[in-house]
């Protein structure tokens, strides 16, 4: 269970989002909202990427008290990720595999599934934005998280990759991994139901 308690995020004294109490149990959660409503900021807060007020726990593990264990359980991928252009995709995959103690066969499966093996030996600086996005999705699935946060996962990927992403989400959901995602496009995974939330007026509520 992912719990947010009295979470508040401000930028230069401007309130971005405030959540008194919110719990995510199992399954998929689709976070919606207009541009600039604070969806991405909320995901960054949950991922522990930016400072905030309040408390967040995942399965009883507090982000502030056990930051390493917390981060082991929360994976996050940005809407428009940037990686060092001189590294290759395989450099990053190897790095994530090592620090998240993932199994090689699971990583190989992801590489094959997202069809990135043809370019992961090239420098990231030569990738298109869609290729970078595919790499970032692979990185998000490496390891054994409790929750995966996907910020606009459908943006920039080609139409052939969308069903692949759905299939991988289904596979990981079957393993008990839960998802929070933002998207302006409808998410359509027939075998999985999802709950919808709306970020509006600096707060979030279930629809």
């Amino acid at each position: 269970m992912l719990t947010l308690h009295r979470v508040k995020k401000e930028y230069h004294s401007n309130l971005i989002i405030q959540v008194d109490q919110l719990q995510f149990d199992s399954g998929l959660y689709w976070i919606q909202g207009n541009n600039g409503s604070g969806k991405s900021t909320l995901l960054k807060v949950i991922a522990g990427m930016i400072p905030f007020d309040g408390d967040i726990t995942v399965n009883g593990i507090d982000l502030r008290k056990q930051p390493v264990e917390y981060r082991r359980r929360i994976h996050y991928v940005e809407a428009e990720p940037l990686y060092p252009p001189f590294l290759t995709g395989i450099d990053l995959i190897a790095f994530f595999t090592r620090v998240r103690k993932a199994k090689k066969e699971e990583v190989d499966f992801l590489v094959q599934k997202f069809k990135i093996s043809s370019f992961i030996h090239q420098n990231i600086g030569t990738y298109s934005s869609g290729m970078v996005k595919k790499l970032s999705l692979v990185l998000a699935f490496i390891g054994q998280p409790a929750y995966i946060l996907l910020d606009e996962p459908l943006v920039t990927i080609d139409k052939d990759t969308v069903p692949i992403l759905y299939e991988v989400i289904e596979l990981f959901a079957a393993k008990g991994i839960h998802f929070l995602f933002t998207s302006h496009q409808a998410f359509d995974i027939p075998s999985l139901s999802h709950r919808e939330l709306l970020v509006e007026n600096h707060t979030i509520c279930f629809l």
Partner: protein, 366 residues
């Protein structure tokens, strides 16, 4: 055309002086800070007369100016490659002469420090009737500026053909890259010239100090030289911190403790400082001192880096560096550098642990 000049000043000139402020600081100190105030004029007169009367010295000065021009050209090319600066290529729509004048103006603005010193050389040269030397200096500099401006015209007009990049030799690495190589790779592939000049300046500072004649073994000479070398790394440290905020944001989500992150950073700087330690070792610094100096140097750069977790602002950073440098200078003079060593590491970790996750990138980090 004033609007074009203004834009070029913001895109290239201002950034050039911002990014190289550390280097200018070191050069300024070497030119004006190491001699007594009542001897500054005679010191510079001697330098200028040597330039005017010695062919070898003049060639050395030409070499330094040439390196400076190459640095300007490389920086301009780097700025033009940035995606946010692609609009500058619209200048190609100007006429050939207009574009050349704009380019020359830009080149001259980048060479202002050289131009200012050249003015004094020429004035003294004419006063002392060294007309041949003055003529050669004018011809050399004019050639440098005209060639640079012509290069810029070509660069702006032939965007689709051009590729200018100084590349340092790359070490082939067939194994998974450890984190320190993420940082070092950024310097060798993305900022090779910045890295090269910082290293050359650093090694020259150490070498220069080690030539000071002393009666007996004095470790402070080595540490003072190293301090100047470390100051010339200020731009390297700032660029690495910027890189973290641009390309290594994903590192914040990685399950690594703050202590381990700090140690990875320490290993990075320890690798970067290997040439300086080799330079000290071959100049007979005692190996016991060398170990302490190594930790001192790494601690110095670690603290410089870690305090940038608090605020990533170039101007404030340079002010901080100046103060930090002066305090370190005094502590070394008063022989309390081993106490400073401990303070560098403890403070560095304190800043890193306290501010790593508190920092939020904003527009200032550019």
């Amino acid at each position: 055309m004033l609007s074009v000049t203004k834009v070029l000043c913001k895109v290239v000139v201002a950034r050039f002086y911002e990014r190289n402020a550390g280097l200018f600081f070191v050069v300024f100190y070497l030119m004006f800070g190491i001699v007594e105030s009542n001897q500054i004029i005679s010191y510079h007169q001697s330098l200028i007369y040597a330039t005017l009367t010695s062919a070898i010295f003049q060639l050395m000065v030409f070499g330094v100016w040439l390196l400076y021009s190459l640095k300007c050209i490389q920086f301009t090319a780097e700025q033009l490659r940035q995606p946010q600066n692609q609009f500058v290529f619209q200048l190609a729509l100007l006429t050939q002469s207009q574009l050349f004048i704009q380019s020359l103006q830009l080149i001259l603005l980048l060479h202002l420090p050289v131009l200012a010193y050249t003015f004094f050389i020429i004035t003294l040269g004419i006063g002392s009737q060294n007309y041949v030397s003055v003529g050669s200096i004018i011809v050399f500099q004019a050639g440098l500026y005209l060639a640079s401006a012509q290069w810029l015209v070509y660069r702006l007009q032939a965007q689709h053909l051009f590729r200018f990049k100084i590349e340092l030799p790359q070490i082939r690495w067939n194994w998974p890259k450890p984190l320190p190589l993420f940082y070092i790779g950024h310097l060798t592939t993305q900022l090779p010239t910045v890295f090269f000049f910082a290293k050359v300046a650093s090694l020259l500072c150490i070498f220069g100090f080690l030539q000071i004649p002393v009666d007996h073994y004095e470790v402070r000479i080595a540490i003072l030289g190293l301090l100047f070398g470390l100051a010339s790394h200020s731009v390297v440290v700032f660029e690495l911190r910027k890189m973290e905020e641009r390309f290594l944001l994903f590192m914040r989500t990685i399950p690594i403790s703050l202590l381990n992150r700090f140690l990875y950073l320490a290993i990075t700087y320890a690798i970067l400082l290997v040439p300086e330690i080799i330079m000290l070792a071959i100049n007979h610094v005692h190996w016991m001192d060398l170990i302490g100096i190594y930790f001192f140097a790494v601690g110095f750069l670690l603290l410089s880096h870690s305090q940038l977790f608090k605020k990533l602002d170039n101007e404030k950073y340079l002010q901080w560096m100046l103060g930090f440098f002066l305090i370190s200078f005094m502590l070394v003079l008063f022989k309390i550098y081993w106490v400073e060593l401990l303070a560098l590491w403890l403070l560095g970790y304190h800043y890193s642990a306290k501010y790593y996750y508190q920092f939020e990138a904003s527009s200032e980090a550019n």
